[in-house]
């Protein structure tokens, strides 16, 4: 059997017609897939630093990118998302593709000066996106 094993070892791993970069392309995720992006702003840019004392920097983050056709495995998307994709591709392109939107948020603590001069520490819900989904 040594000859057969030898022959097997010399057999190319991938069909000659398909070169390596092409072969790996099928495993790469699309370049601009739906994901979380940072957007750091300071309240002085919005000219609110005369009443918002802290935090100085605020990064609400946002979701941007294309939704892959099989959204379920990575984004926790419901089956409806895939159905909407199929409708867009096969039945009616006026129905939009699923959108890349936030799925989870975290709160933000704000120290603010009230109009009467009193000072308030408050925690606001849903002020920072922490996870994206396709819907």
């Amino acid at each position: 059997g040594q000859e057969t094993i030898g022959l097997e070892l010399h057999k190319p791993l991938v069909p000659a017609s398909l070169n390596l970069s092409e072969y790996f392309k099928q495993f790469l995720f699309p370049q601009n897939e739906c994901e979380l992006h940072d957007f750091r702003l300071s309240f002085s840019q919005l000219k609110w630093d005369n009443w918002i004392v802290a935090p100085h920097r605020y990064n609400p983050r946002y979701c941007k990118g294309d939704c892959p056709r099989a959204g379920g495995h990575r984004y926790g998307s419901p089956v409806h998302t895939m159905v909407q994709n199929i409708i867009h591709e096969k039945l009616d392109s006026s129905v939009p593709r699923p959108s890349c939107v936030p799925a989870k948020y975290s709160p933000l603590s704000v120290l603010a000066i009230e109009p009467d001069g009193s000072i308030a520490y408050k925690e606001y819900e849903d002020m920072i996106a922490t996870k994206c989904t396709c819907r």
Partner: protein
């Protein structure tokens, strides 16, 4: 809960759309579109009136609140998990009018009794009071050679003229609290939850009180240090700190967030702890069933 809440908002259709609008600072919206019950932060975002004229706060009070902020949140504004989960709002009020009624007595160290008036208009109907503190500090940094014992006497007054019953005699409620000032202490917090609870709960918009502070030196001191007068008149008239639980939907409720997990034993202890401050229990219980129903 996020997804369900998201579905509820999307299902709400137009209402959710109008809520989404406040963030569009690009185009000013005319008055008719403005939804009614937005918390102050969103109202300002909505109106773009961030620049509305504001009274400037007391610098010492601002320094204290910045220090409180640093202990409750990170630099990016993420709430830390180490603070009491029951309150998500802390408000500091400085007194509008302070009249010194009687000069201080250097020997016994009695501070001039101070007449204070706090306007609490910024406390919203959805904010439940959990704890009230009078915050004393010194006009300039002084350090005691040893601990000093103080007695704080509060006389709560009805406002001079109460529209409801103009002829009612001024009623007053006296409250005493003892505490100790150690060396180099910058802030002195006196818990006054008991006398304030009924006033804030009865939706009073302003609170009028007389504060007497008597500080005597520790008798164990060597005679030489005892005859040095205790200059407590350096104490600045106190500010009022209210620890509240904002029950509105926009406020962060830590005990419901998935990040805040209580161990069964701790939650049992937590329940016992709540019985120590009935207000907290009422507000927490009050909030829990409605949220569970929702």
């Amino acid at each position: 809960s996020q997804a369900s809440r998201g579905e509820v908002e999307i299902a709400a259709g137009t209402e959710w759309e109008s809520e989404a609008v406040p963030w569009s600072l690009v185009k000013p919206l005319d008055k008719k579109d403005r939804p009614g019950s937005l918390p102050p932060l969103f109202k300002v975002l909505y109106d773009g009136q961030g620049g509305a004229p504001r009274l400037q706060p007391d610098s010492r009070a601002l320094r204290y609140m910045k220090r409180l902020y640093k202990s409750y949140a990170t630099k990016e504004g993420i709430p830390k998990s180490n603070r009491n989960p029951l309150y998500n709002t802390v408000r500091l009020f400085t007194s509008c009018a302070q009249h010194k009624r009687a000069p201080g007595d250097q020997v016994t160290g009695t501070i001039a009794s101070v007449d204070l008036l706090f306007h609490l208009d910024r406390v919203t109907a959805l904010e439940r009071l959990l704890k009230s503190v009078l915050l004393f500090t010194f006009s300039n940094s002084i350090s005691f050679h040893s601990a000093v014992k103080c007695m704080c006497n509060l006389v709560m007054k009805e406002p001079a003229f109460s529209s409801r019953n103009p002829h009612r005699a001024q009623s007053s409620l006296t409250f005493n609290s003892q505490f100790e000032i150690t060396k180099k202490q910058k802030w002195i917090e006196v818990d006054v939850t008991a006398p304030f609870q009924p006033l804030v709960a009865s939706d009073k918009r302003s609170i009028h009180m007389l504060v007497n502070l008597t500080c005597v030196k520790d008798q164990l001191q060597p005679p030489s240090a005892r005859d040095r007068p205790l200059n407590v008149t350096l104490l600045v008239p106190p500010s009022l700190l209210l620890y509240l639980n904002d029950t509105s939907a926009q406020a962060h409720h830590r005990w419901y967030s998935p990040h805040y997990k209580r161990r069964p034993s701790q939650s049992a202890g937590h329940k016992r702890g709540l019985s120590a401050c009935p207000q907290g229990e009422k507000s927490a219980e009050g909030v829990r069933p409605s949220r569970r129903r929702r």
